[in-house]
């Protein structure tokens, strides 16, 4: 068994998860640490459920075994529940409290759990709920919610906040650096007490 720190990031195609995972990878490079990752995307960009595995200090394969993740970052409330079995018992979960209902709820008349039901089911974990869309909008752009999520998770990451912030600066589009730096700091501030 490795001593890697395993992070599963989940959400819906189009929420900026790939950039978020690249920021984590870049922060590892800044700290001269090994990192492995794996993503599902492609078809998933068309509204599908997306998962990204990141193993900081990982030496072997990129995939995290269920029940073995140290941290779960979810960009959507329902997706947090869908992938919750990946987290270690009592593990840390940083979750955007918004939920996009799957189209299958409307077209196939399937029943989605309510927000309250999901939150109750997630209570057995070390749960941090954040309204990332609102914080991102306050920071200057709703598109920065991926960076808000990283900020909110920063306390639980084995990476220095300076490295994360430097990685954000390096990877976000140049015109949006100020907004994203603010998004990271505001997310981090929220995560401190959450």
């Amino acid at each position: 068994m490795t001593v890697s720190f395993d992070i599963l990031t989940v959400g819906i195609g189009g929420q900026g998860m790939i950039l978020a995972s690249n920021i984590l990878g870049e922060a590892c490079l800044i700290e001269k640490r090994h990192v492995k990752g794996a993503e599902t995307y492609g078809m998933a960009q068309r509204g599908g459920s997306v998962e990204s595995h990141i193993r900081i200090d990982g030496l072997y394969g990129p995939l995290i075994a269920p029940g073995n993740a140290d941290l779960l970052i979810s960009f959507d409330l329902l997706e947090a529940l869908r992938y919750s079995h990946y987290l270690k018992a009592g593990g840390r979960m940083v979750v955007n409290r918004r939920m996009v209902l799957p189209t299958s709820v409307f077209t196939q008349k399937l029943v989605a759990p309510t927000e309250d039901e999901i939150i109750a089911a997630l209570k057995k974990f070390d749960l941090c709920l954040i309204d990332a869309d609102q914080v991102a909008t306050d920071a200057g752009s709703p598109l920065s919610q991926n960076v808000v999520m990283l900020g909110a998770a920063a306390r639980s990451l084995p990476l220095g906040p300076g490295s994360l912030l430097e990685a954000v600066r390096r990877l976000v589009p140049r015109k949006t650096i100020d907004i994203n730096v603010r998004a990271f700091e505001m997310g981090r501030e929220f995560g401190r007490t959450c």
């Binding site: 819906i12 492609g42 068309r46 394969g61 209902l101 799957p102 409307f106």
Partner: protein, 588 residues
């Protein structure tokens, strides 16, 4: 040396430039596409690069370049190698002078594919070397070796990454990029390049004579290596080797297979030193079959006696479970974790505003009782709308359609095929359908791009892989040249127009072609094209659910219809609402 966090395919592309690649061709296919997508956007390109129209075309181009003495890379997904199998089999005979690396990416678990075939079987079949990386770094490091092996032995080399290599990421130690400086020159040598029977018999013998030295070299290079630590041994290949190393007990021997063909003497020696052997590999039992041929009475565990599955992909958990079951690991270190059940799924669906949705809706309305052969592309998702009855491989919509039409089936056949797929292998089917007198309607879903694999241009786009303008290809003229007299181009956002053209086609005999032409909604967004979004007039909406059956992710429903922010303003729902309750803001 630079260290970067890269996608496997990006690392492979970088390594090709480090190897001084001169010529690049390929056809997009998940999970292989980003290799060329990375190479084609390099700020400085000293190599020739093309997206070819299909894999056979790509490989023949690359083979010719390698005959001219330059280094060529040809990329495709595993099923693309079926299309390129004809030149592959004989290119092993003719050999090459410049290095030829054929990248064929396998997709265990069929994440984005129609089957789980194994490229290693093709390498075995064609008798060419095959490299099988276990990590992103190894994929990078193997590329220069692949070119060098191809040149040393004068044979094409297959490079076989899998989804979890192509689409995984890692911190990769990179080398220096090298500019291509070679100039190709063709040296006439009919005995090598004209495979008439008299020549090919000799070439076949030469190919077979190369095999023993290739096997020895792959061990000498450390691509196949082993460490003896105990009485039990695990032999693993590809990404499976990475999963094994994560849980391997210290007293169990380990052999890593990174290249084929495997040297039997070397493999046999390893097996002979152990009391039992476990083979871990994805897809076909390619290694296991070799092991069983040599193992004698030493017990072998693997797929062939039910310890591992033939299907799907490996994972750390799956590997640990196999090792525990076969007695190579005392206890599976991973906890058993069960996902929460009965959550509504979120499968991929056609985008809001996708041109295909309007086309499918109209087809189903006009040809209610039709049979709908379809093809490979985003539009295969039309399955969810009930307008995709068959999909087997690239280009097979028209051929399956004509086959059904000639079989005595009396219902109308309406097939759908994308523009890139039509140019890949659809055209021959159209020629055949016209020639054989089939009665059917072909709808070419023309979004002017190869969308599903990441928006690669094709001859119909009007630009090359490197962004240069090309002479426009006319699908209309192409179809007419095949002998089709009914060829109509229509905007699938214009529901009335599309329904009229389909009605017209329905009345006629023979092969009818309708080109449903509209930009991919993602391309349109990137180009900055804006359309007024739709909304629902709640006073007028009767809650009949007609728009809901359209299956657009922008349409929600709670007693009354609701349109969310995903709407891209295609306006088709506005046209299909029976009470006019959907209205569009602003202007087109």
């Amino acid at each position: 040396m630079e260290r970067r966090y890269l996608l496997g395919n990006e690392a492979i592309a970088h390594a090709c430039v480090e190897s001084g690649v001169d010529f690049v061709s390929g056809y997009p296919g998940t999970p292989s596409s980003e290799v060329i997508d990375t190479l084609r956007v390099q700020p400085v390109r000293s190599y020739y690069l093309e997206w070819s129209v299909n894999e056979k075309v790509a490989l023949e181009n690359a083979l010719a370049a390698a005959w001219c003495g330059i280094r060529a890379l040809c990329t495709m997904k595993h099923v693309g190698l079926n299309v390129a199998a004809d030149p592959l089999m004989t290119s092993a005979y003719t050999g090459v002078t410049g290095g030829l690396v054929i990248l064929s990416a396998d997709d265990p678990f069929a994440h984005s594919s129609q089957n789980e075939q194994d490229t290693r079987c093709y390498a075995h079949f064609a008798r060419v070397p095959c490299l099988d990386p276990a990590s992103v770094q190894e994929a990078h490091d193997m590329i220069p070796t692949a070119f060098a092996l191809s040149e040393e032995f004068g044979v094409p080399v297959i490079f076989r990454p899998t989804t979890r290599i192509c689409r995984s990421k890692g911190d990769v130690e990179l080398g220096e990029m090298v500019a291509s400086t070679r100039k190709g020159a063709f040296h006439k040598d009919p005995q090598q390049y004209v495979v008439i029977p008299a020549h090919t018999r000799i070439l076949h013998k030469k190919l077979n004579e190369k095999q023993p030295a290739i096997k020895k070299k792959l061990v000498a290079l450390g691509l196949n290596r082993c460490e003896i630590r105990g009485e039990a041994g695990v032999i693993a290949s590809g990404i499976g080797a990475s999963y094994v190393q994560e849980v391997l007990p210290p007293a169990v021997s380990f052999m890593k297979i990174g290249a084929y063909p495997i040297d039997e003497a070397w493999l046999g020696e390893f097996i002979g030193k152990h009391e039992k052997i476990l083979v871990i590999e994805e897809l076909a039992p390619e290694v296991e079959e070799r092991v069983r041929q040599l193992a004698g009475c030493i017990p072998v565990f693997g797929k062939m006696n039910g310890y591992a599955a033939y299907e799907g992909e490996l994972s750390p958990l799956a590997v640990a479970a196999i090792m525990e079951k076969a007695g190579f690991l005392e206890k599976n270190p991973f906890p058993s974790a069960v996902p929460v059940q009965n959550l509504p799924p979120r499968p991929p669906i056609l985008c809001a505003g996708c041109l295909h949705r309007g086309a499918f809706f109209a087809i189903k309305k006009v040809f209610k009782d039709g049979i709908y052969p379809s093809d490979i592309g985003c539009y295969t998702l039309g399955l969810q709308l009930g307008v995709v009855d068959t999909t087997i491989c690239m280009g097979a919509s028209i051929t399956v359609g004509s086959g059904i039409a000639h079989s005595g089936e009396t219902r109308e056949v309406v097939c759908t095929i994308g523009d890139s797929t039509f140019l890949h292998t659809g055209l021959q089917g159209l020629i055949n359908a016209v020639y054989s007198g089939a009665n059917m309607t072909v709808v070419i879903l023309d979004n002017r791009i190869t969308a599903m694999t990441g928006h690669q241009p094709n001859p119909n786009t009007g630009i090359t892989a490197c962004g240069l303008e090309t002479p426009p290809l006319s699908l209309d003229a192409l179809c007419r040249a095949c002998g089709v007299t009914f060829v109509e181009t229509v905007d699938p956002y214009d529901l009335t127009g599309l329904l009229n053209v389909l009605q017209d086609a329905k009345k006629r005999k023979g092969v009818k072609v309708i080109i449903a032409k509209q930009l991919c909604v993602i391309t349109a967004r990137r180009m900055g094209i804006k359309r007024g979004k739709c909304s629902v007039d709640h006073e007028a909406c009767t809650g009949c659910g007609t728009c809901l059956r359209f299956g657009c992710p922008a349409i929600e429903f709670n007693e009354r219809a609701e349109i969310n922010e995903l709407c891209s303003g295609c306006g088709v729902c506005e046209q299909l609402c029976p009470v006019g309750a959907i209205v569009r803001e602003g202007k087109r």
